[in-house]
């Protein structure tokens, strides 16, 4: 089994640098997501690992082996492509068998392994169908079976679930996760869907302008983003502007705001707090921790959550997510309220 190491990988197209000196270690058997908006360099990074794109500088190692200059066919990777890349002239069996037949495995071995892979993705019985005759989810399964059939140590996936509808996507996320951990494969997974990255990954590398903005476990990067970009990219984030006056952080209206781990000592910045960490209460009611008075601007019922937007002053809006429950009293637009949160639920970011 094999780990993946990237060392100062850099790639430019003309004057545009799309990947800037990326380094990271991906452990054997780890599920790592490259998450970022389009143009952040995540697909180029994956293409360099696959060998379709040659790095300008830096190294790629699989285990201890330097593969930087190896052509894709010699890297022995499993791959799931965006839009699946199912060969239209081959039936499902021959699509799945492709990585084996190009390596000239004996016929009975090919049949055995294809059968196993088809069973694993629950596609048995579809062997003689063609790509066009399959639903999106079934095509996705073919692509997955084809990626694991040669029992690679490393699998690369490029937005594999982008074309599926939401329910199916969640189901496939679970299946991919289950299969990859059962087979102990190292997975590098490119996506722009933060929920998907949070659901599936052991660690997430959030990319911004060709750099890794932050690398960490899902909960870690969600709760403790190190920049405004990461905070915003991983779901809803409240970013309350603050100024330090006489060593105390003061927010809108001069309200003092406390932060449990305030190591930054920035003169100005933004206090980051997730909407679900915010409590909504009637004006004047005593509360714990930080609080700001405001007026409800809008209320949206999202099913499991009620999302309330509170205008704190002319510039600052706070978003508050309250879990739906039997005791929930729906807030109303125009109500005067106060929002509060604990000093342990927030930290200060530059910006």
């Amino acid at each position: 089994m094999s780990s993946v190491t990237l060392e100062k990988l850099t790639k430019s197209y003309g004057s545009e640098t799309v990947v800037r000196s990326i380094s990271m270690d991906i452990a054997q058997g780890e599920f790592l997501s490259l998450l970022g908006p389009s143009g952040s360099g995540k697909t180029t990074t994956l293409s360099m690992i696959a060998g379709f794109v040659t790095a300008d500088s830096g190294r790629i190692l699989f285990g201890a082996k330097d593969v930087t200059r190896l052509p894709p066919r010699d890297r022995k990777l499993g791959m799931v492509f965006q839009n699946y890349a199912i060969f239209p002239h081959l039936d499902v069996f021959n699509n799945v068998a492709f990585p084996l037949t190009v390596r000239r495995l004996p016929k009975d071995e090919v049949e055995k392994r294809v059968r196993q892979a088809m069973e694993m993705v629950r596609l048995t019985g579809f062997e003689t169908r063609y790509g066009k005759q399959l639903s999106g989810g079934q095509q996705q399964r073919v692509a997955l079976a084809r990626a694991i059939v040669a029992q690679p140590e490393i699998i690369l996936m490029d937005e594999p679930l982008g074309a599926l509808d939401k329910n199916l996507r969640y189901q496939m996320q679970m299946e991919i996760k289950e299969i990859s951990s059962r087979l102990g494969m190292t997975v590098i997974y490119v996506t722009h869907d933060q929920e998907e990255a949070l659901t599936m990954s052991d660690r997430i590398a959030i990319m911004e302008n060709g750099r890794i903005a932050q690398l960490g476990a899902p909960r870690d990067v969600y709760e403790h983003p190190e920049s405004v970009f990461v905070a915003r990219f991983l779901g809803e984030a409240n970013l309350v502007p603050v100024k330090r006056l006489d060593g105390i952080l003061r927010g809108p209206g001069g309200n003092a705001l406390r932060v449990e781990k305030d190591r930054s000592q920035l003169a100005t910045g933004k206090i980051f707090v997730r909407p679900e960490k915010i409590r909504l209460s009637s004006a004047g009611e005593p509360v714990d921790g930080n609080f700001l008075p405001g007026k409800i601007r809008s209320v949206a019922f999202l099913g499991n959550v009620v999302r309330t937007e509170i205008a704190v002053d002319d510039e600052v809006d706070i978003v508050c997510d309250t879990a739906n429950s039997d005791r929930l009293v729906m807030p109303k637009a125009g109500d005067l309220v106060q929002v509060s949160w604990l000093p342990s639920a927030c930290h200060v970011l530059e910006g």
Binding site: R73, F87, P88, H89, P99, V102, A150
Partner: protein, 279 residues
Amino acid sequence: MPLGRLSQWLLLAPALALLSALFLVPIVWFIAGSLASLGGASEIWGETQRTLGSTAIVKTILNTNVIALTVTLFALLLGYPMSFALSRLKGAAFTLVLVCIVLPYFTSIIVRTYAWMVLLGRRGIVNDMLLSLGLIDQPLALLYNRTGVIIGMTYVLLPYMVLTLYAAMKAVDMRLLQAAEGMGARPFEVFRRVFLPLTMHGVLAGCLIVFILAIGYFITPALMGGPSDMMMAMLIEREIELSQNWPAAALMTIVLLAITLALYSIYSRFNDQSGAEGF
């Protein structure tokens, strides 16, 4: 936009009327009239046996097919790599190559054929060059023989092959080739197992078009060929112009038409089938 049956026919009507008036009616009239001039069915049967039994005519039919097949083969061998290059080109380079392929079609085919005769003659540019380079001692016989016919016809018909193949190759999703490479296929395997099968319908269509055009060709073999390179179209012309043997010409026309239609029906059946498999 869904079309009613009636409006569909109305849209097709001008083309159908033109084809009927200028092609279908004359050819039926020509064949029926020629054969009727012989008398009854037994006379027509006798003439058929005599015509198709003649060694000269059988030889011409064979010749025609061999020449058309050879030309198709050369057009495919030259056209496939050309089309591939064309399908990879973009912008100005693409336009330039396309113009080079299509531009000769704006000049008369007779002019182009004479140009080849200037190039390929005993004292033509090709022989002069090879002689002065010392590659040959004697001028090569490139004209008024099979070689001349093949060169001339391949040249004229090559663009049909190239444009047909180009359309097929342009439709191939390049990500499939990359995917195949990522799955361990060497470049030749990518070609043999993915690119070639995905462009095979273009190969068949191109070969069919070139073969059908070649089998009825007249001007190029007439000008660049020798006495033994007689093709069916030339024979038909000769039967009418020289021998004024209209029934024989009509019978030859039927043979030519039958070969063409047979090939076309095989092709369209194949095309329907591959369509059902989801191409």
